[in-house]
Structures are given as structure tokens and as C-alpha cells.
């Protein structure tokens, strides 16, 4: 039997929400997609017309819970990368597993990750902290399985108490069916990973371990939160971690979609263990 496992969310120190969030964020469920066509044009993961919207008030809730990541490999490798993470607790961010652990990119664990919550170009409303401790699902480490591409960043500072953190929930297939979902992150093609962009649409379909959607994303948005919100006065609930573009969707599905691994009950259980780490 499917168990719905949750973690707690927080609005952070300043309860005032972004005034534009109410207009941008989509809520609840819908029988209609927000766009009727999804034609692959050029870039792998911007589907049809690029409809991403830049978020400017990134110092406000909920945007400030999303952080730009600058990732560096351990010496002697000089590798660096750009990704996205988001707070799930006072000292913990969730991201894609490949942002913290990759045999091909980092020869194992990343060395350091600079975390900048709500970064807005040259503005760092909550500063930048450097993390050196990470976790990733064992199946990602062992098998590089995209279905398990989830990891986390452990901070020494309780920055999440200030910026807030997402609630997680392992929603069922039925819960996810027709759900309107939201993604915000830091793409490389606009602002070089320094500006936050947002887009929305409906869940196209689910598989046992992934959720698929025709929401525009781009490289650098790996690790972004995929969240559901029942209504304007309800809290955002993260249900997946964005990680893959169109090529990650099986052709047999007959859809043009990006995707991310779902936060299934056993995954949320593991994340709870990560949250409990010092």
C-alpha cells in the first residue's frame, strides 16, 4: 500500500510572500494543459516557445527558498558547474544527485558547493555559504540510475530558518494526475546561472519513479524543486526534483516532456534521515 510520507515546511523569518507569486504560481488540478502543443524546437528542454519568466523579487517567499549553486570538484580536478538547490530544512537543501556526486564529472563527490539563496544577478540577498558535506541516494551512487538522481547539501548555518523551506510529500499517482506544478531555478542560457526563472504546467504523466511535464527548463536547472500548491493560501509541497530534459523521456510514452525523479515514500524516509544529520 502506498504511504504518503511528508516533512514539514516553513515560511522562514519574514512571513511576507512575494506579491507576484500569487499571479505566477499555478494551483490545484486542471483538465487542461496550459498549452496545447509541445513541439521540440532547438534546445533540448525548452519545449516550443520559451515561456520561462524571470523572478525579480527573489528575496521574497517562496523564491528565496531556491538557491543558485556553484559546484567545484575536488582538486586536482578543475571542474566547476552550475545547478539549483532548494531548502527542505534549516540546514539542508535538496538537489539532483548529479550535482553532489558524479563519477564522470567529479570523480565522485563534489568538493565544494557555493549556495546563494534567492540570488538575483549580482545581488545576494542572503549571502553565499560554502558547503562541503553532501548526501545522495545509494542507487544513484551505485548505478547512476536517473530514477534515483536525488542528493542533498548539508550546511553548517541554519539559513533555512531565515529563507524558509519546502514541505515534501510522496504523492500518489492519483494525487499527481492533472496536478498543476511549478518549477523555479537558475538556467545557464539566461543570466549564466545567476538569475532565477520560473515556469508552470500540468503533469503530463507519471511512471513508477518519475514525473513528466512540458515545463520549460534548461541546463543549470538541474536540482530545481517541482512543487504543487493546492491554493494561494496553502503551502507549496515539493513532489519531485527536476533533473532531465526531453531525451530522458522514453519514446514509447509518445510525449515531449522533461522530467524528474519522484519523492516516493522510501525516498522521503531517506531524506528525513538526511535532515536529522548534524
Amino acid at each position: 500500500m502506498f504511504r504518503v510520507i511528508e516533512t514539514e515546511g516553513s515560511q522562514g523569518a519574514d512571513k511576507a510572500a512575494s506579491p507576484v507569486a500569487e499571479d505566477l504560481v499555478v494551483y490545484g488540478k486542471s483538465d487542461q494543459r496550459l498549452r496545447t502543443t509541445a513541439v521540440r524546437v532547438g534546445a533540448e528542454t525548452v519545449i516550443g516557445t520559451d515561456e520561462r519568466v524571470r523572478v525579480f523579487d527573489t528575496d521574497k517567499y517562496p523564491w528565496r527558498m531556491v538557491a543558485a549553486l556553484n559546484i567545484s570538484a575536488r582538486p586536482p580536478l578543475g571542474v566547476s558547474g552550475v545547478g539549483t538547490g532548494w531548502f527542505i530544512g534549516p540546514k539542508t537543501l535538496l538537489t539532483a544527485g548529479h550535482c553532489v556526486y558524479s563519477k564522470t564529472d567529479f570523480d565522485g563527490w563534489a568538493g565544494t558547493i557555493e549556495v546563494s539563496p534567492g540570488r538575483n544577478g549580482a545581488k545576494f540577498p542572503f549571502g553565499t555559504v560554502t558547503a562541503t558535506r553532501f548526501s545522495a541516494l545509494q542507487a544513484w551512487q551505485d548505478d547512476v540510475d536517473p530514477d534515483f538522481d536525488i542528493g542533498c547539501i548539508h550546511l553548517d548555518q541554519p539559513l533555512g530558518d531565515t529563507v524558509g523551506y519546502f514541505k515534501l510529500a510522496s504523492l500518489t499517482d492519483r494525487d499527481l494526475e492533472n496536478s498543476m506544478i511549478n518549477i523555479s531555478g537558475y538556467p545557464a542560457d539566461r543570466g549564466a546561472g545567476t538569475e532565477q526563472y520560473f515556469h508552470v504546467n500540468r503533469v503530463l504523466r507519471t511512471s513508477a519513479r518519475r514525473v513528466y511535464y512540458d515545463i520549460d527548463t534548461y541546463g543549470g536547472q538541474s536540482g530545481s524543486p517541482v512543487w504543487y500548491q493546492a491554493g494561494p493560501n496553502d503551502e507549496p509541497v515539493a513532489i519531485a526534483v527536476h533533473a532531465y530534459g526531453i531525451a530522458g523521456t522514453p519514446s514509447g510514452f509518445g510525449i515531449t516532456a522533461n522530467s524528474g525523479p519522484r519523492l516516493l515514500p522510501e525516498v522521503v524516509e531517506t531524506i528525513r534521515e538526511w535532515l536529522a544529520l548534524p
Binding site: 533540448e44 571542474v79 539532483a96 550535482c99 563519477k103 564522470t104 564529472d105 545557464a188 543549470g220 531525451a247
Partner: protein, 86 residues
Amino acid sequence: MGRIACVLHVTDQGGRPLAGMMLVVEQASAPVPEMAYVTDDAGGARLGLPPGPAVIRFFRGDYSRRVTLTIEDAPDRTYEVVLDDA
């Protein structure tokens, strides 16, 4: 086919290394995560790519170019990338 570690050496037409160039894999023969990479002082970048054709987009400021590489099933091979007008 899984991804294998590849090294890119990115230079301008004069052979000078291009540091701080951002790159993203836009298309490949198998799923590639949506991460972006940045070249180091020597113009180098290391990333996992599946064997076969790969379309990689390079950015720096207003500059943008797409390059198609043919990735071989040879781990840690270095691919020379020469960007015009960079």
C-alpha cells in the same frame, strides 16, 4: 549506453584557452542531466557524455555557439573545441 568521462579543451581560433566559458549539453544519444559547466583557466571542462553525437552550446556574455561532437567510447579522451569569434 551510459555516460563516460570526457575532457573538453576549449580554445579560440588562435589556440588561446577560453576560460570561464559556460557550456550545456543540449542533445545527446542518451539522457544527460541538466547541469551547466564552466571551463577552467586552461579552457578545460570535464563531463559525462554518452558515446555518439552530442550538441553542446557554449556561452560567455552575449556570445553563444553550438558545436556538435562525436563522442567515442573511450573514457577520459580529450576533445579539442575551437570557437570562432569568441
